[in-house]
Point group: D2
Amino acid sequence: MTDFFKDIPAIRYEGPDTENEFAFRHYNPDEVVMGKTLKDHLRFACAYWHSFAWPGGDPFGGQTFERPWFGDTMELAKLKADVAFDMFERLGVPYFCFHDADVRPEGDTFAESTKNLEEITDYFAEKMDATGVKLLWGTANLFSHRRFMAGAATNPDPEVFAYSAATIKSCMDATRKLGGENYVLWGGREGYETLLNTDMARERAQAGRMLQMVVDYKHKTGFAGTILIEPKPQEPTKHQYDYDVATVYGFLKDFGLEGEVKVNIEQGHAILAGHSFEHELALARALGIFGSIDMNRNDYQSGWDTDQFPNNVPEMALAYYEVLRAGGFDTGGTNFDAKLRRQSLDPADLILAHVGGMDACAAGLKAAAAMLEDGKLEAAREARYAGWSEGLGQKLLTSDLAEISDLVIAKGINPQPRSGRQERLENLVNKYL
Amino acid sequence: MTDFFKDIPAIRYEGPDTENEFAFRHYNPDEVVMGKTLKDHLRFACAYWHSFAWPGGDPFGGQTFERPWFGDTMELAKLKADVAFDMFERLGVPYFCFHDADVRPEGDTFAESTKNLEEITDYFAEKMDATGVKLLWGTANLFSHRRFMAGAATNPDPEVFAYSAATIKSCMDATRKLGGENYVLWGGREGYETLLNTDMARERAQAGRMLQMVVDYKHKTGFAGTILIEPKPQEPTKHQYDYDVATVYGFLKDFGLEGEVKVNIEQGHAILAGHSFEHELALARALGIFGSIDMNRNDYQSGWDTDQFPNNVPEMALAYYEVLRAGGFDTGGTNFDAKLRRQSLDPADLILAHVGGMDACAAGLKAAAAMLEDGKLEAAREARYAGWSEGLGQKLLTSDLAEISDLVIAKGINPQPRSGRQERLENLVNKYL
Amino acid sequence: MTDFFKDIPAIRYEGPDTENEFAFRHYNPDEVVMGKTLKDHLRFACAYWHSFAWPGGDPFGGQTFERPWFGDTMELAKLKADVAFDMFERLGVPYFCFHDADVRPEGDTFAESTKNLEEITDYFAEKMDATGVKLLWGTANLFSHRRFMAGAATNPDPEVFAYSAATIKSCMDATRKLGGENYVLWGGREGYETLLNTDMARERAQAGRMLQMVVDYKHKTGFAGTILIEPKPQEPTKHQYDYDVATVYGFLKDFGLEGEVKVNIEQGHAILAGHSFEHELALARALGIFGSIDMNRNDYQSGWDTDQFPNNVPEMALAYYEVLRAGGFDTGGTNFDAKLRRQSLDPADLILAHVGGMDACAAGLKAAAAMLEDGKLEAAREARYAGWSEGLGQKLLTSDLAEISDLVIAKGINPQPRSGRQERLENLVNKYL
Amino acid sequence: MTDFFKDIPAIRYEGPDTENEFAFRHYNPDEVVMGKTLKDHLRFACAYWHSFAWPGGDPFGGQTFERPWFGDTMELAKLKADVAFDMFERLGVPYFCFHDADVRPEGDTFAESTKNLEEITDYFAEKMDATGVKLLWGTANLFSHRRFMAGAATNPDPEVFAYSAATIKSCMDATRKLGGENYVLWGGREGYETLLNTDMARERAQAGRMLQMVVDYKHKTGFAGTILIEPKPQEPTKHQYDYDVATVYGFLKDFGLEGEVKVNIEQGHAILAGHSFEHELALARALGIFGSIDMNRNDYQSGWDTDQFPNNVPEMALAYYEVLRAGGFDTGGTNFDAKLRRQSLDPADLILAHVGGMDACAAGLKAAAAMLEDGKLEAAREARYAGWSEGLGQKLLTSDLAEISDLVIAKGINPQPRSGRQERLENLVNKYL
Ligand SMILES: [Co+2]
Ligand SMILES: [Co+2]
Ligand SMILES: [Co+2]
Ligand SMILES: [Co+2]
Ligand SMILES: [Co+2]
Ligand SMILES: [Co+2]
Ligand SMILES: [Co+2]
Ligand SMILES: [Co+2]
């Protein structure tokens, strides 16, 4: 272990009443809920980028973090890895996630960047072996470098498309090598700044072609993981093609990939798209494309992606309720796509932000499980639609407009509203919290 | 003609310099642009609901308008029709649009409501004959009455589904009878207030089934018009299933109806969904589902649908530019889904709001046409993607990830960013305004 | 008691584990926290308007509620009062609030409206005597009737100003008669729809003059209650002059009334203004104008005032924490300015919505009290500013720019950032929940 | 002149029909409108920061611009100045604006930073002399460096307050030396990230004290310019104390500085605060604190400050209408606080973005002047309030609530609503565009 976290103990579960800041109050990894340990339910992952690569800048200010591993050498990249794995172990998280740009210095050429990636991922492999920490997913950073400023797959310049394709291949290779359970695509620059210079039909076709190649490469190489798209409506672009779950679904249908690709849903992106997190989760479940989550929180008063550590347990209970209704995670998991506030300078801040987030997730999941096991909410939902299992409901499934019209007139159908009972259901949810 | 507008002249084109408020300054219906008259390009329609049925209420206040035709008798319904057609003629609009609930009193039974609808639409038929005014589209109001409070097609109660189906049939019949060129579905209550009591997968399936029946009925009855869905993200519901163009597209694909149904895009709904109007238009064009527009304007500082008369010509130029790029309207048109502010009490306000809106549309369309005919904007757009027509671009279309990666390494591809020229293009647009 | 709630028992505290929906799980009115009972801390009030006068309409649909007391007679007004006081008693709320328009039929003349108000408030007085329920505040509805469509105090027509002044007087008289502890002004129409027809300086002066008259009348009549302004940024208007707490403060300062008038802060209005509820509370406290709260919740994905019953305990804990830091309520209290969803048709929904809200408030307040008594959060806050009590901090209070500049240069001051510890503080807060 | 813009001509007025991109179509500096040249009306200024110091980064990507002057030496600072003044001259803008951090390299100590500032501003002085370009305003960058991460005047650490005070002094000195006509304070970090660690009352007092010292120093040094506060609601912080014009006014009143300090209003900040630009301008005028404008545009679909070059002439006409109603600029002017999109890499983009913005401002101002000279809009506004000049209106000014109530009853006052004529006024505005 490095000495970055030197005064900070490994984090253990001590129960709700502990006064120890450096302990879990709700996350007992071995606690069994609905037949599975919390560890296996939640499948926590740390995000390399926010915790180890982000310097603390914002649009009006530069770096606030001063980390000993900041810099552009392979040596510093390894120091960064040492600290990262140290944190993973102290927290007891089973997984991590990374972009290529988070973990290796950019080379002078694509070939050199790839070589750097191979070297650092070999180093990761050793550390993963030693610690048991696994890779939830890998991904390619196709948005930070200026070459991607006008898009990656959707760039007007085919050279950028080619460079992006090559980069994705290198990241898929690295992910496969490390036994990653998913591969993620977030199209941060796949969108536009102004419609005036944009050919949407063409860019959409390019995006479809790239996705098809990714799926083909997965099969060709025998990568067993899931391909995931992470929707976001905008920021950094004015408009992003993977706006939200519904938009991604239409895109997948268009290219016949709805059976090949699932979604990685982020709370903050749901909010930016005008949805609740649970909406996006429920919709993905309804459409059969639920994959994984990027757990964080967005400030409701901010119009940009704040990527904060989550802390509102009632909201998280509703989110995990949808995860559990979807059958829980398969290859997916709970990735903390969350960053410290830029004023949170101390190593302890980094550890404790994760501790708080993990505890909130655990508390949310336990409430969700109790709610689901109790069954009252689902019973109420089903009762509301009961009429569809009966005579008229069944008949409607085989009638046409004219027949139904005849029926309405003949029977003098005059539907009477029934209470939606929203507040009673909200009270019921609060009972489990 | 009635005497409601008695001091108001028929509106004629007098050119930009007229001091006459009751004249068009930009809309000369006979002016030819890109080979078509403005009348044929714009295909203006007035909306019955906002102009003749809305009493001026808002969530914190009741009726402000006192119209002689307000009330629930067929006699008043005919008076309303008289005034409406009087307005259509004075304005010279070629089309109108209506919901059943705008035009006939609700009956005690569905049968009686239908009878009322038939009677009033017979009355319309006479007036249409007499005036030459045509029906752009008809639609069913499946959202105002309390029976629809939990949805129409997506209601948990099959009786409401049946009642809705019968209502749609009656409105499609009326539309066909009147030679309507489209039939519109806006799902104002097809969404949810709370996920807690909602089965999204089931409701989505119900919506799909209803749409299939509508399409079947269209074909069965030989209705020659276009079926249009009007997207809106929310309000009155917390979430509406037809959120935006991309969402509707995914829905259509799911039910195999993307060749049967197009979209009616409203400016205000685009704004509420986090998009510009031109975005939604351009996307619908790219997806092949562009149909018609509900022209209005949303206040950018309000979080609800303000349905104001449009007045910002530069914005409208961008919108009509997309309409023209899509080939112009086929069966669609420019429906003013716009209402007076509730303080605009005078008959003259109603006329002049339309005059201002029509003028702004005409000015926008003329600017758009000039821009398109000049070709500079399109030339700039095409130039940006020129690389895709050449060697590398073409090669990429038949390569896979691994081959592209080899190519990038072999050729040392290192893409150099090129200016997106956004401000220059914005300046170019302003040149036509 | 009436039979509207006939199958519903009086609500009693049964503790967190009760399975009885019709019981409090957290609100034990007699429980003592920080030396005061929960009843005295929370000072709950029911809002007459949402619970008894609102028909369930929204901008796209009409009445959903069918209440036996709906109608325009004094007899029905008394039936409404009977049901209202029945609910107050069953819930055990100590207070209620009302507008004139909620409780009496509008008369043909102002005089008749006032007579009706006097009659119904005499009836209230008897019921208050009999039940012990008290009046938290009264207010005038100066926004629903069409006469107020262009403002009340700020109307361009002096007749409306006069009518509004007379109405306020009648409502202040009623409030005083009933021993009301506050009088509230919410300026729902005091704003504008368009700047184009608005003289803001003049309208602001009119508003100031009206407020001065209200304060004068309070003193003249010996009304012992507090005058409260309720800020809201917009809706129904495009812009409301009492935008938020900071805006109201500037307005009060301008008219020299900051010592006479306080604010009634509503959660939903804070959200619409781009603030958190706790922000508005903390600011009012910092400015010395904290008065009372309208407890409800706004949907974060809706752009209008949803006035929902509150249910997120962590958010409410932060709100009550600010209330407690402000010394708790003096004449103020917790008014549920919350309405049922329009689909919640049943009498039980009305009772249970309040039960859930009261429980959530109680849970929030108890967490807030524990947090404040524990003192860790306040200790952390104070420690952050400790430097201001020491040498340099003190010196800065008596120096000018030039002296401070000399000091910085002389001492080579080069400030070193310190962690803001946001996530640690968020974890700390979660400990009390 | 440098060779950065080497192929770009000086920009001249060529009229609306020119095909030359590098010419003004509307801005003829010598054109006289309402007795003043456009140059004197508009008082254009370029912003050093966006055009010369910003590297093109955003939250998801780094530098896109590669400018020969990027770097940290005085030599490069002078090259930057050479290019900047070259641009000012080519554009014919009479003014510029700057922060200390835009123009000089940061030193190792405050003293060295100040020395660098003095040296570069001496260099500016020479160039100003040579070119006739003047300084509209100077300001201090108290937000980019990590030392300011928790605020400048409002920092919990008094050392930061001291450092900020010294920095402001150095920037005021530089501004005075260069004959700057205003000094601006934008409190980008004067706010909070989380209420949990914030003492708002204390921070507000610190801000007030700093502002008082600034005003004192202005008077002590005989600086003849205006002190301006630039409101913004949030970003980079979660909440900024100078939220909007109304908030700043309350703050000024609290510290007795409303006669000493005015506001610099930015379009983008108005939008972020939930207001239109013209609202903020009209309010500042009504409160007597209108000073200057930061002209740019915010994307209505983005929730952050996009600082784009303005291009919507109708919106700008409404803004300049308020400027003209306020008597035009005194010491203030039109500063382009606007930045190129990060994809606009070319020198020509920088020039043409300004050309487009200047043209749009000129067109807007000319429309506004025509509208004001024509007088119809003001006549309509005044007519709406005419009743206040007559009997009842005058009487109300000297009555109290009880007297007015008597009057309403005695006269049977029953106000009749009058049309607000919004759409007619909107049509009227469009006539001038
Ligand atoms: Co993410
Ligand atoms: Co994010
Ligand atoms: Co519409
Ligand atoms: Co609309
Ligand atoms: Co309220
Ligand atoms: Co409210
Ligand atoms: Co600015
Ligand atoms: Co800005």
